[in-house]
Symmetry: C2
Subunit: 233 residues, 2 copies
Amino acid sequence: MSNQNLYNPHVSVDCVVFGFDGEQLKVLLIERSINEQNELYNDKKLPGSIILNDEDLDEAASRVLTELTGLKNIYLSQFRSFGGPDRTKNPRDILWLENTTQLKIGRIVTVAYVALIKIDRKIQVKNDNTQANWCNLNEVATMNLAFDHAKIINKGLEYIRHNLDIEPHLLFELLPRKFTISQLRSLYDTVHQTTSDVRNFHKKVAQWTYVVALDEVEEGVPHRAARLYKYKK
Amino acid sequence: MSNQNLYNPHVSVDCVVFGFDGEQLKVLLIERSINEQNELYNDKKLPGSIILNDEDLDEAASRVLTELTGLKNIYLSQFRSFGGPDRTKNPRDILWLENTTQLKIGRIVTVAYVALIKIDRKIQVKNDNTQANWCNLNEVATMNLAFDHAKIINKGLEYIRHNLDIEPHLLFELLPRKFTISQLRSLYDTVHQTTSDVRNFHKKVAQWTYVVALDEVEEGVPHRAARLYKYKK
DNA sequence: GCAAAAGTGTTTCTACTACACCCATGG
DNA sequence: CCATGGGTGTAGTAGAAACACTTTTGC
């Protein structure tokens, strides 16, 4: 990526990529190494990028995800921008920025997106020396994160919590194409921070016209196999 | 405002300022004149500004409102950023930008805020040659607006529609300190695009502990005077 | 006394809650 | 045959919706 492709080094996008492993929510983070006085310092950051010339914000976020995962058509929603002057106060972050962009950086305003992906889709990191990992959300607080990325993750989580009430279809972006009611309930309860009654939840889902039963059941489980459902329209 | 105060001319804030006149929602727009080939061209724009050095996004939006209205402690909430490369494709907008900032401008990413103010508060425009007017929301579609400001206003309206369900207190930012249940219902229905039943609405409000009745009634009306209420806490 | 808006209760329906047992399957 | 999770119905409660007449006041 050559410098003249860059729009300007003052605006970036960052993506909070959520996944669900059947038990808890995960977030996709990039390993970052900084060579500081000949000592390697490791931490994590959100996938993100400076905005390219002639690129819309949404396009930039979409590009970041495609470069990172090899996937297209990922659910993406802008939720907030962060631009405090103290975002880039940490000397390690400044060092990393200047090494990465080869430019002198003042501060960066970043536009943050939430992305939802099915964790079973195999992620193929295109970029050679980039490593991405799924991290448990409740461990994020104890990890070292670049810039204000911990804050961004929290705001992103708040955002999907609010929006699942309005747009319940967001749930299905996180589930496999064929899923059981248990999986759906587990995800629903994780996001809503509730514990639903099994029977009441079945009734609720039965009224969701966009969840349809398949003539299939799950396989390879050491107990009665659950019916599979899919999301429609 | 001297140029070295400016952060950089690539990031701005714009404020969608809503008011309520008792009948409908209004938005505060700035008159803009552009001298184009010795002909004056007039249109309107949202109040906004480039971000200053060492200024947080929220601070910038707050400053814009204080400079414009003379008021402090206005409800403000960031809702979305706009950064499409075609935002600054209109030659008139480019001309205006260069005249205003005295800088060569590529494109601008703007962070948009919603502000809610009581329309009875007298607005004192500080800036000499700036004129601000309350415009009816349903006339916005037919007016000439700078940049993508029409789109920003629509997204801002969507935002408060969603958020009034979650934070009903937002309503009181738009009403006078003392208000009648009718005024509250009228505003509620305008924002929700509903027509509430009068009795049911009274019952609903009676359960809102943060709406308290005063020992006062409205004055100067040619019919039975309505009781006044205030918002508490 | 009339025009104009304020204020007030009851019934119905709907949506959510609580709660316990039998079923199918693999080992 | 047993351990594990899958699947089902009913009764009670609380919140939303429908609906019409009397009251107060200025003119």
